[in-house]
């Protein structure tokens, strides 16, 4: 049994559906967006979460993120797969309009389309990239960047929000806020719930 000197380390796991990354390095928005680029993508939705300078009237000086990387990467990879499955199967009826319906027959085919009951299923999402920063993040810098590409805009918007909410709810990542004028060892660990 090896000794885990730190479980909060850089990690990356990629599949054909996308990539999950945990890194101590500053997040590069442009590179992350480029990583989901595809000639079949008519839309890319991007969420950039940045560290804020205040919390309930207190001045935030910096934030620190920690992860159980081995588990968090699995969780984010599962969330990416769930977003693909969800957006591919759920009819987006609430805001569906004619062009979206048309995409059913014009989009690229899924790998497993032959097992589908219909002739083929549309590929409604192309790729999802989730990058989360670890360690100390100065105020104003991105702590999370999510990029989602899809043939049409609706799916990437929906999936991007879905992935963000699930990551905040489930990924084994923790944030500590440091406030001006308060002792560092009393800085507060946050909870999203």
């Amino acid at each position: 049994m090896s000794i885990p000197l730190s479980a909060s380390v850089d990690a990356r796991h990629g599949t054909e559906l996308g990539v999950a990354v945990l890194t101590h390095q500053p997040l590069n928005n442009q590179e992350i967006v480029a990583s989901v680029a595809d000639d079949g993508a008519g839309a890319t939705a991007v969420f950039i979460g940045t560290t804020r300078n205040s919390f309930k009237g207190k001045v935030v000086t910096k934030l620190e993120y920690q992860a159980y990387s081995k588990l968090a990467i699995k969780t984010i990879t599962d969330i990416i797969a769930a977003a693909h499955a969800n957006v591919s199967s759920a009819p987006l009826t609430a805001h569906t309009h004619t062009p979206l319906q048309a995409s059913v027959f014009s989009g690229p085919r899924d790998e497993d389309s032959t097992t589908s009951t219909s002739a083929f299923r549309p590929q409604r999402l192309i790729r999802i990239a989730v990058h989360h920063r670890l360690g100390t993040v100065p105020v104003g810098e991105p702590s999370i960047v999510i990029a989602v590409s899809s043939p049409h805009r609706k799916e990437s918007f929906v999936a991007c929000e879905m992935v963000l909410e699930e990551v905040k709810k489930k990924a084994q990542i923790w944030k500590r806020e440091y406030y001006a004028g308060e002792k560092e060892d009393e800085a507060e660990w946050k909870a999203n719930a």
């Binding site: 000794i3 909060s8 588990l71 999203n192």
Partner: protein, 91 residues
């Protein structure tokens, strides 16, 4: 006397600041498989006055990097990596 096999405990966030540890080795009290549900008591005994007891009440567990749904059904035989998982706050 502790005579059982060892496990590794990982601490994160509030559990880590309370114990002042990111991990520790823990010897199980006997060679018999120990219920995960008994682990809180063992850890609180090791870290009295640390605030760990209150923190553990808000936490979940993972064993070998899998979240535990029901602590009553999981038994520790030794060699496992058990993590205390406080409420998450990523994003």
């Amino acid at each position: 006397m502790s005579t059982g096999p060892e496990i590794t405990i990982l601490y994160f966030a509030g559990a880590s600041t309370a114990t002042k540890l990111t991990f520790e080795r823990l010897q199980l009290p006997s060679a018999e498989p120990q219920p995960l549900s008994s682990l809180s008591t063992l850890l609180v005994e090791r870290h009295p006055q640390s605030g760990l007891e209150a923190i553990l009440r808000t936490c979940q567990w993972s064993v070998d990097a899998e979240m535990v749904e029901d602590v009553e059904t999981v038994f520790l035989k030794g060699g496992e990596e058990v993590a205390v998982i406080p409420p998450v706050s990523g994003g």
